[in-house]
Symmetry: C2
Subunit: 421 residues, 2 copies
């Protein structure tokens, strides 16, 4: 295939812009042709690669599940126009093939996505079911913060749009305290807790990531347009949707998984019993990341969700009262006691040897930097293995797919057993 | 020995008032001669009985530990005068030999007291160490509520004297809601949370028990004297100290163990990081009873203690937000999910047979009413065994001492193994 047909225009990727351009156009096409977190489309891309997958979708040469998910837009999507529009707004498309992709943060999503795709292939999961914990096909980004390292030391701070003065006060303390200690504050740019979290991080001159449910040219809510601008100036705006996309209800829910995935741990500050923040909390738990909740007055409906998360029946959340508490969970070694999981220690040596033989030299050094019992963060693994933190981050997904790695709340360690499949 | 010498007056218990009077006088003497929760004195009483123990103390015929704990007052205590003064105030002395003694509630204290006394005998614990979880030697009581059944269905509600409006509001909801459902509200009669708890129970026309740190003729704080009167009218005032005793600091701490022991479970509503309520919470955990805490604003120092109890490092407390939540913990079967402990199921049949042979018919029936796996409350055991709840309550300590019984948060069941000693 020398190029793909998009929006009625033939783009010859090879001759016009090289492989990278072809890849970008394919990913741009994929990011609009179906809704985010679609299992069949993600699976097609995994098996065929993005360029062939985009071409197959455009040609209708796909199975009925992919067809159902893509037929409405397959002829009308114009990825080149999307990329051009993005460029005008200072928005870039970041793809999984890029060094800028947040492999570290998305390792958990890759794992859940792979598991869901396997179940889909084995007929255990129909494609119409929620594919919520699927990795994104691409990310539209605007800002100055380096995307690749987001998730190494970051905290999702989420909560109610109709926050109380109490909730906004606590959020300001958390966001400011974390950002001053170089913890990236991740949130969704909404009114209430989200906006308070971003503002506090900006006030501290610290890093913040705003994950939007719609196109980055369409700040939502429009009243937070100035906040979007400020985040773009020093932090990062992210969206799965190309410019022009409206923030539809479903996109808020799929967006929430990205907040959870990009966060080392997520804090729910205030949340009604049923709310978007509770949805983010569910994703956080689903990804195996530490969930935290701030208690509040039992008389406040805005704290009811937090108390549910902290209650004995649910009990997946840690109670936190300050940025110090959160730092103890999402921070590095020595900044607080990270939660430890119980697991048994080692892979049988023979099994591990086979997998190790297939690794490149860097990945092998990273593996040797892993600890057997304790989970370590990339910076510690980097120090132990003598490679750069960025190389560690890049090698981790490889080690994970080889079944050599185990992901925990506090980082990574040697896998205790080979994973099935 | 035909009588004991007290306060310079020889009282011939046998001729003047019979065994009961002799017993009451001995217990009255013991309740003043040493401070509450004294391991050596409790142990002496356990081994010799109260009458001989009181006589030995009076005569100085005791070991150096008992002597050290009693020599300051052994000649000046006048138990007859104390009993006469008590009678003038409508205060009665309730002794462990009486059917009115709260055997059910104090079963846990008997167990911890016995264990501490054993360690004391084996030299593992010096008597100067805290004997906090020792059973009381006697209780001074004033009021209408039946003492024996307190603890079957009761909730300690404790917290800060300097309560906030929030704390008092939540306490009122808890106390009222529990008292309307016939849960006895147990507290300490102090300003703040304590007083709000008693008042709410009284407003609901429900049962409440006030455990005082000083003599019941000396309400403390004096500003709560009217509250003491109201509790005496429909509930119960209790103290370990005879009339006239000042509420000294140490007596507040020993008093707190009685609040925990008389409560099926204890709720901390508001508490500073270091406070009497945190001391009561510690006792509750020490007795194996369920501890609950109400969250509040993280900005409130009065909720800091509660958040510590609910945090992951301590984590002995259940988060509760309403009287329904508390009822689910302290209420009977079907009123909520009581916490279940994991234990293995049965005594070897041979062991149990020996112990069973030594029981009277009622105790045997009560034993047969116990479940093997699930903890059951006395009312349920009564229904299963066909004896009255009061008979169950009286038989439980016997079964416990015979090693046939296991006490849990949710009641009693067949012991999973014989206890040491």
């Amino acid at each position: 295939m020398g190029g793909i047909v998009v929006g009625g225009i033939t783009v010859d990727g090879v001759t016009v812009g090289g492989d990278d351009t072809q890849l970008l156009i394919a990913r741009a096409y994929l990011s609009r042709v179906s809704e985010p977190a679609c299992i069949p489309v993600w699976d097609l891309v995994r098996r065929c690669g993005p360029v062939a997958a985009a071409a197959a979708i455009r040609d209708g040469a796909v199975d009925r599940y992919v067809e159902a998910a893509t037929q409405a837009r397959r002829d009308s999507v114009d990825p080149v126009a999307d990329l051009e529009a993005a460029e005008r707004y200072g928005i870039e498309l970041v793809v999984p093939e890029s060094d800028r992709w947040p492999h570290f943060a998305f390792a958990a999503l890759e794992r859940t996505g792979l598991a869901r795709a396997e179940r889909y292939h084995h007929g255990e999961r129909t494609p119409s079911e929620s594919g919520e914990l699927m990795p994104p096909l691409a990310l539209w980004a605007r800002g100055r913060l380096e995307l690749a390292s987001v998730g190494v030391r970051s905290a999702g701070i989420v909560g109610s749009r109709a926050a109380t003065a109490y909730g906004e006060h606590v959020t300001a303390e958390l966001g400011y305290g974390l950002a001053t200690r170089e913890v990236t504050v991740v949130s969704g740019g909404a009114y209430g807790i989200d906006a308070a979290a971003h503002r506090a991080a900006l006030a501290a001159g610290g890093p913040t990531v705003l994950v939007s449910a719609g196109g980055l040219d369409r700040p939502y809510p429009p009243g937070n347009a100035a906040l979007y601008e400020r985040v773009a100036e020093s932090g990062l705006l992210l969206s799965e949707s190309p410019p022009g996309c409206a923030p539809q209800r479903r996109r808020f829910l799929t967006r929430n998984r990205l907040i959870a995935a990009l966060s080392t741990g997520t804090v729910v500050v205030e949340a009604a019993a049923r709310s978007g923040a509770m949805n983010t909390a569910k994703h956080c738990v689903g990804l195996g990341r530490p969930l935290m909740a701030v208690p509040g007055p039992v008389t406040s409906p805005m704290s009811a969700g937090c108390h549910t998360l902290l209650g004995r029946d649910a009990a997946p959340a840690l109670l936190v009262t300050s940025s110090d508490d959160v730092l103890g969970v999402v921070g590095g070694v020595g900044e607080g006691p990270p939660p430890i999981r119980d697991c048994d220690p080692k892979l049988p040596a023979g099994d591990r040897r086979v997998a190790l033989d297939q690794l490149d030299a860097t990945a092998r050094r990273v593996f040797e930097g892993l600890l057997v019992r304790r989970f370590a963060r990339p910076d510690e693994i980097a120090a132990r293995s003598g490679v750069s933190p960025l190389e560690v981050i890049r090698a981790l997904p490889t080690l994970d797919l080889a079944g050599l790695l185990e992901t925990g709340d506090a980082g990574y360690r040697v896998a205790s057993r080979r994973r099935p499949g």
